[in-house]
């Protein structure tokens, strides 16, 4: 009889950071102990899409993952790239896909990263965990495994991810948690699963799992009609904010698309998580399976690549702060309601993904919480004058 495998603990420090505001008003980001400053030349974490292959065809997939993309990075190329990243001082690595575990060298890539001193985490749909993979992972100190779960009910989850996926994902959650891995869940909300919000929160709390929450945006495979309307998004924000501010025994992790200004409790708590600007390229840097570098995994739309590792060195891409330039050039200007908004100088339009994927113009955020509140308030206070 063989005993159940146990995860090797990862002794890396947690991810706590410190933000300071410089005299010029710029936010600066440091490791919690102050020993490292994160900059565009030395981002906090590298997110590496090791393959576009995926066994599922999720309706909302931003990456349009499925079959292998042309010119995917080989393991040897990934090794060289990891060396470059370490030379910049980066020591946090997140492996994504497609489905990362589908990469034929998945465990080998983890070994390459660990040998170089990276703290490794990865995102998975959880449907491909078999005994050998579980044993292999148990033998390695993995910092965090994040599993995509879009519904507690099989119907909601499989409406998005396809038949048969729910049971496999739930089994992976059971097995990974039983083995003692640091585990969290991630949910992207659309009209297809927003009704699952309370059930998902309850599940996370009952299982002691941290929960990363975001909105599905209209890019990749995701059709616009299934995405949330601004009003539904406001409702989602209120629910997430209520959980975020409640004294729950888990961490609720709202992503930056939810960090919008609001006048009201509890929504204004999410505004408190906004870091003064999009931190794509500064805290996280994303590398696609074809070598393209973008500020963030969510920026999966044309014209957002700042370089390609098949042709350029990471030190050049980071050293020239290309991500910052891209964000400032494409998203730095505001128009319409946002141009005169009292929050505008602080939010800068909010998450570029929402601006680009969900709004008519990338200079005016129709999903802003404050914008909806302002509209509602002006209509009530000036019923004969309010516009829009």
């Amino acid at each position: 009889m063989t005993s159940a495998p146990r995860a090797t603990p990862c002794l890396a420090a947690d991810d706590s950071l410190r933000i300071e505001t410089a005299p010029d008003g710029e936010e600066r980001f440091f490791r919690a102990d102050g020993s490292v400053e994160y900059t565009y030349a030395r981002p906090f974490i590298l997110e590496l899409e090791i393959t576009r292959r995926c066994n599922l065809r999720c309706l909302h997939c931003y990456a349009h993952a499925g079959s292998e993309s042309a010119n995917e990075l080989s393991r040897a190329e990934i090794r060289g790239f990891l060396d470059q990243a370490r030379a910049l001082g980066i020591d946090e690595l997140s492996l994504t896909g497609g489905e990362a575990t589908l990469h034929p060298d998945f465990v080998g890539i983890i070994d390459d990263a660990l040998e170089r001193g990276f703290h490794v985490r990865f995102v998975t749909n959880g449907t491909l965990f078999d005994r050998p993979l579980l044993r292999a992972l148990c033998a390695r100190p993995i910092k965090l495994i994040t599993i995509s779960l879009d519904g507690v009910s099989p119907e909601a989850h499989e409406r998005i991810r396809g038949p048969g996926s729910h049971a496999k994902t739930m089994r992976a959650i059971d097995e990974l948690q039983a083995a003692g891995f640091a585990l969290s869940l991630i949910t992207a909300f659309s009209k297809l699963n927003v009704g699952e919000l309370d059930a998902l929160l309850g599940f996370c709390v009952s299982r002691g799992l941290d929960w990363q929450v975001q909105m599905t945006s209209a890019k990749g495979r995701c059709p616009r009609p299934v995405t949330l309307s601004p009003e539904q998004y406001y409702w989602l924000g209120q629910k997430v904010a209520a959980a975020f501010t409640a004294r729950l025994p888990i961490n609720i992790v709202p992503m930056d698309d939810l960090a919008m200004p609001s006048l009201y409790e509890p929504l204004s708590a999410l505004w408190g998580t906004w870091k003064g600007r999009c931190v794509g390229g500064l805290l996280n840097l994303f590398v696609r399976a074809n070598g393209e570098v973008t500020p963030c995994s969510a920026m999966a739309f044309p014209g957002c690549a700042v370089g390609n590792l098949h042709r350029e060195r990471l030190a050049d891409i980071c050293g020239e702060a290309r991500c910052r330039k891209l964000l400032e050039e494409r998203f730095g200007k505001l128009s319409g309601v946002c141009a005169s908004c009292p929050f505008g100088h602080a939010c800068r339009g909010g998450c570029p993904d929402i601006l680009y994927s969900m709004c008519e113009r990338p200079t005016e955020n129709e999903y802003c919480f404050y914008r909806l509140e302002q509209q509602e308030l002006l209509a009530a206070a000036c019923p004969n004058r309010s516009e829009e």
């Binding site: 640091a182 961490n251 006048l263 204004s268």
Partner: protein, 181 residues
């Protein structure tokens, strides 16, 4: 209906979202007509929309003084006043002004307390303690950060914050069907 050029201008500027200019025009009008409760309440709403929560609450205090002076709430202002009172709850400042709200018709301290209790999650008392955000927010692509210096114009003072944040769903007006469709 506007009764002075500055009031008409103030209301127009407010509708155009020029809140700073609108505030100045409202103040000009109020200097001439300090008892104009409607203008006063709209001034407060402008302050709120302009991210000046403190000024919004100050205006409420001014409005209370006017109401105390005139003895009753004019019928044509009731709706606006109700809106204002609702805003005080929604911004999480009810505890700061509860003492003055009891002076007015249809609004008592107990009603406010009921509103808070109805919005609170089951099992949480009125003073359930302060909120703690644990530092180690890990997620798939990096970290979550707590801002060390939240915006002073919108942040709540700590004690009030604790009370407000434990509420579960204050201001949830917008609904989607359970199936999300």
């Amino acid at each position: 209906m506007p009764t002075s050029p500055s009031l008409a201008e103030a209301e127009a500027l407010m509708a155009e979202r020029c809140f700073t200019e609108s505030i100045a025009a409202f103040e000009l009008h109020l200097a001439a007509e300090p008892q104009d409760l409607r203008a006063l309440l709209k001034l407060g709403i402008c302050h709120l929309l302009n991210r000046s929560r403190g000024a919004f609450l100050d205006v409420h205090r001014r409005a209370e003084q006017v109401i105390a002076r005139i003895g009753t709430l004019p019928a044509d202002v009731v709706q606006l006043y109700e809106l204002y009172r609702g805003l005080i709850v929604r911004v999480g400042a009810a505890s700061l002004v509860a003492g003055t709200l009891v002076l007015n018709q249809g609004c008592t301290e107990s009603k406010l307390a009921d509103a808070g209790a109805a919005a609170a999650p089951a099992g949480e008392g009125a003073d359930a303690g302060r909120i703690e955000h644990r530092p180690q927010h890990r997620y798939s692509g990096g970290v979550r950060l707590e801002r060390q210096a939240p915006d002073e114009r919108v942040a709540l003072p700590p004690a009030e914050s604790s009370r407000a944040r434990k509420r579960y769903g204050v201001g949830m007006r917008l609904k989607v069907p359970a199936d999300g469709k």
